[in-house]
Point group: C2
Chain length 194, copies 2
Amino acid sequence: MDVRTLCLGALMGGEATGYEIRKMFEDGTFSHFQIASLGSIYPALTKLTQDGLVTFVEHEQENRPDKKIYQLTQEGRRTFLRTLLQTRPAEDRYRSDILFMLTFAEEMPIELTEALIDEFAARHEMMSMQIDPENPDKPAPQTSHGRDEDGTPKPGCCFVAGLGQAMCEATLKFIRENKQGLLDELRNRKANKS
Amino acid sequence: MDVRTLCLGALMGGEATGYEIRKMFEDGTFSHFQIASLGSIYPALTKLTQDGLVTFVEHEQENRPDKKIYQLTQEGRRTFLRTLLQTRPAEDRYRSDILFMLTFAEEMPIELTEALIDEFAARHEMMSMQIDPENPDKPAPQTSHGRDEDGTPKPGCCFVAGLGQAMCEATLKFIRENKQGLLDELRNRKANKS
DNA sequence: ACTATCATATATCAATTCGATATAGTCAAT
DNA sequence: ATTGACTATATCGAATTGATATATGATAGT
């Protein structure tokens, strides 16, 4: 899924600026399973405007850069829904420096291994708290993304949020149950080697 | 972590060709938490050779392109271990078209929602089987990546593999418990709307 | 027998995307 | 007083992906 499609999806929840769209991918609704940076969002919005899939209204603000509030056109909405129907979703990809590094646990000091695991746990704990299945867009709910016009959270979003939480909890549980075992085993091996 | 570092890590397990390194990220040891394509691996190996971190021996093969078997130099090994100690691991990032699409479940036919969930489950089931914590590099164990010189699986690899499996299982469990509820809710909403 | 398709193996390249930076003002905190 | 954080758009070099080219053997389907 390219950034253009992601932007269309972001605008399905209502109008937004490029900056707000980035926030949806940084902190908000989509942050746990899609990424898009400003450097790709702004060009994408420009292209979408040229293609007539979005329009924007420029709001002047006192002593601040103009705000361009983007909105889907009917054509944009149709295009996005067609994309949903036609796209064969790409493989999921999970990228974790920490897990990659932990693969080399034997080659590094045990304190580092423990620190990496703790860091991994801390990040997942934070993520788990950030995701609230009843309220998919926790931080800054000014814009009503993730919920319907009437304010009800969307069932799809709840499902996805719940799944994310389940994954976090499984991760934390695994660490609670296996961290000490790994550290002991590593200590054993070091002792045997010397 | 850039591709150069990933290549050094891949070569920590012993010598390999560029093609074999790609397989480690495609099917093998690292496939579930790091990605690297041939288009980035070959340039990375060239650069690493220039920098003296790896060397290669060219093996001619009858009726096949030459094979360049790469190997870490001592300098390369030291550099990688230093990187492990110094690098602040980047945030994990998980990217899933399916979860993104499911966010818009209300906007699409229920059959598509169900198909997407089933696809998601199928992929995780496959992944779960592919990961064997006792044997981190399931497919094609010619090269001994993920295990020590003596053939014992490395504890770090086992830990990471076990974690991956736990996540897969949690995902599958969540789907078993929540898929029907989501579909029912969606059907309800459609009925109420019309 | 013929034809795909896949696997091995290296290499290149356009298109995409990231990450950093520039600009510019407000606001809170140290 | 000044550092850092937030809002907001925009650009650009660098990294990376994904596709393609080349060459051949093996395997499987029609």
